[in-house]
Symmetry: C2
Subunit: 505 residues, 2 copies
């Protein structure tokens, strides 16, 4: 009997990094789960087992105790230690073979997902941005080397020295109050938005804000309007709700408000008024007013995504649409990813009064709240004036780079590429000759180390001019010159020199 | 003509904190939007206007330029500066009166929300936890004063000194690789989970993990199983998808697996196997195996929420269900909110191989990724062994407090309250006499400064014993004694002394 149990265990040799006790527990568990030690089987006494394995009895006692606590073994006075009788080992073992093969393959995996899950699984493009840093002309990139690291570090140290239990527990779902106050104050000045801290919601990203907007406002069958071409992240998030996502044409000024539909099922319109993504237009005042009037007439909500409008090169930023919002219909989104640095993961929404409680509840249930520590550091950074100064400095720096980029393109790429006037933001929009395939051009540029995002990447079905979105703001002037020079032979190989008009602006 | 324009403007006096230029821009905008300066109206020349207002001509030029850029004014050679003709002022102004009154009131606000939005808006309970810190016996609270602040600070400083542009850009959606590796390594040892970093997803909270699980796996009409009584946060999140949320009865050992339904529309079962919330059971091995067999038979996924299972007082933590998961059907959730501190906002999910890509895509689209800096600090904290040491120390501390709490309750509250044996976690489960109204008891205790969460708070429809969930882990022994003493007269006033059995364990 003892010999038989010895043989049945068929212990694997002990790996060096495991203690004796841990190894023996694992071996006994494996033997029980595999059915090699069946339910009810009596184990040797601790004394005998210790002798058989030439280990101390104390170790065997600890192993038996652990496995009794875990339910693998039972101990009854008189009959000693046995494998627990109630374990449904057979059921588990039997199913093992049948199920394994079915669980492989992409198609099978997707079949296990919900409709929303399949949409989520099919959205891999955003992660790509992690790779593109440092290459010209990767879009949406602030110049991280120009960030005031030492200052940020000093503020961080101040706050972490004072990290008291009060700041380590749960915080307010809508965000750290000093940060919300600092943002409201900044927006009053910078964007002329009259709002109070109670309307400011702190989030991890504009993506999270768009996700919550969609979930709070859209039912399956509703319609959400997006710009076409426009930011695909917004369209994909709204589609998760089961809403129909409809593109509205865009021209070089921005959203064509005369093309807004009047259907009553439209609940939401998404607009990049300050700097249309990707065509670069700044929505004119009359269209802003028309869009607000449309929202009022159709009982809709406008989501104004101001991702880089703070960087207007020839003057102060234009007032946000939210500043004209007398009927509480505009949700204004801003992000510190582009204004400070992406890994900070802080953004905000300014929501209408009537939506504030619901928005905070939604944050609370789906994520609880943003981390308090970076919020506290950022609040000081804004309140002490560093944020406004940093924006001024970056506005000047990016303005110089915009001019340099435009000059280099005009000089080196004339006839190959038309850079539209750059008045704002981190990225330029450049048009290719009409027959060009901008995906092919972007792919070819990529092979030469040049990042450029094709305008067709932003297309939702409406015809869009072929072109490229290129970020200049993270590139020094030497890199801009070199990068543009690299583009010349690539664009020439696409034979565009005949049809592109001269560079504008 | 000039005099008339002067009158029409009806300028408000300039507030002290506004520059002349900013004030004048604002006044002109307001006059135009209100229709007091109608579209097409000619403005005085800059020279005349400066003289009229007794300000410098340069200021007026700057104001006109700004408003031309914003689209409020137009400038044409010959006819001077006029209010822009195309502005749809009338449309906006007309709608103002009609719409305003309809936009007030809670009911009207909720009518604007989607079905999901109304569910989100109706979930305010989670924010309450922000308030309860420091009061005995608030549940789910680690002792923040016992956290190794100086050590954490040192690691933070090391990382922030090295904050290079590489760490400031966008990161991987699934999380910072060193942290994912450190967690996988920790789980191999602590929970005996065989997983690799590719299966570890870094999230802001267990809430976010549950939200994404629901969205990825549940379609409207599907069924999600939850424990009843059980954690309401999970049930509310699953309900957002339109799935039917069905409670499965729980006894003192945990989920009653013999009551699991066999219907084919069940996609997901949520279980707190290590420490059932709220009844405190540790799911026995045979039920774990039965639940795994059920998942295999019904093609379902198990979400194992291990919120405080690391704190097992009489030995190492029991292996997680995920460690028994041979068919890749278990999603294991852990959170650093309870193990370190809540405001850190980091949690993780260990997902099956087949779900890893979809999960990462879902994070990417809905939030992008967690902040990199705290992830890097936490990765060092784990990899350098501080995490395991902290857990050992807290396990000892909380174990002493559990024993103290149990002793005080047994001594002072005998016949009033039955504290179930505490083997694990931050909270105790205490049963009240059978006829007691636990919400009333909790409310009465609250008036005396004692936090206790009624078991009926966790109820989903099945009958549950009246009782209280009380956190002992953040309370020193003196506070425990005082807190329990405070409870005596309150519980006596509910007249429970006759029917409650003696205190267990």
């Amino acid at each position: 009997m003892k010999r038989a149990e010895e043989l049945e265990l068929a212990l694997e040799p002990r790996p060096r990094n495991l203690t004796l006790q841990r190894w023996l527990c694992g071996e006994l568990r494996a033997a029980i789960l595999a059915g090699r030690l069946p339910p009810g089987r009596r184990l040797p006494s601790t004394r005998d087992f210790a002798r058989q394995q030439a280990i101390s009895r104390g170790t065997v006692v600890a192993v038996y105790d652990q496995l009794i606590a875990e339910g693998y073994l039972s101990s009854t006075t008189g009959s000693g230690t046995t494998v627990a009788a109630a374990l449904p080992i057979a059921v588990t073992a039997r199913r093992t073979q049948a199920a394994q093969p079915a669980a492989t393959g992409e198609a099978v995996n997707h079949a296990r997902l919900s409709r929303q899950g399949r949409l989520l699984a099919g959205s891999p493009f955003l992660s790509r941005e992690g790779m593109a840093l440092g290459r010209p002309f990767s879009p949406n990139q602030p110049d991280l080397s120009a960030f005031p690291h030492a200052l940020w570090q000093r503020l961080s140290n101040q706050h972490s020295r004072g990290l008291r239990p009060d700041d380590m527990g749960y915080g307010e779902p809508a965000g750290h109050l000093p940060l919300r106050q600092a943002i409201a104050e900044h927006l009053r000045y910078s964007q002329r938005i009259s709002c109070h801290a109670g309307q400011v919601m702190i989030l991890a990203s504009a993506q999270q804000a768009l996700d919550l907007c969609g979930r709070l406002l859209l039912d399956p069958g509703d319609t959400a309007l997006v710009e076409d071409p426009g930011y695909p992240g917004a369209a994909r998030l709204f589609a998760l709700t089961g809403a129909r996502v409809q593109g509205v044409p865009v021209d070089r000024l921005g959203l064509c408000t005369e093309a807004l539909p009047a259907t009553p099922d439209v609940k939401l319109a998404y607009v990049t008024a300050a700097h249309q993504s990707p065509l670069g237009g700044m929505l004119p005042l009359e269209r802003r007013l028309a869009l607000l009037a449309w929202a009022e007439a159709s009982n809709g909500v406008i989501v104004e995504d101001d991702y880089d409008g703070e960087y207007r090169f020839d003057g102060a930023p234009l007032p946000a649409m939210k500043s004209l919002d007398r009927h509480d219909r505009v949700i204004y989104l801003g992000t510190f990813s582009k204004l400070l640095f992406p890994s900070l993961r802080l953004a905000y929404a300014v929501v209408p009064e009537w939506l504030a409680d619901a928005f905070a509840s939604a944050i609370s249930l789906t994520t609880r709240h943003a981390p308090i520590f970076p919020q506290a550091v950022l609040a000081s950074f804004i309140a002490e004036g560093h944020f406004a100064r940093h924006l001024r400095q970056m506005r000047r720096l990016y303005g110089e780079r915009a001019a340099c980029f435009q000059h280099e393109c005009r000089t080196q790429l004339d006839g190959l590429l038309t850079v539209l006037p750059i008045a704002i933001g981190l990225d330029a929009t450049a048009l290719l000759p009409q027959q060009a395939d901008d995906r092919a051009v972007a792919a070819a540029l990529g092979q030469w180390g040049i990042e450029a995002r094709p305008i067709s990447f932003y297309g939702m079905g409406q015809p869009a001019p072929p072109g490229l979105v290129m970020g200049f703001s993270a590139c020094g002037e030497a890199l801009i010159r070199r990068g543009v020079a690299t583009m010349v032979p690539v664009l020439e190989s696409f034979g565009g020199s005949a049809s592109a008009p001269g560079n504008a602006g």
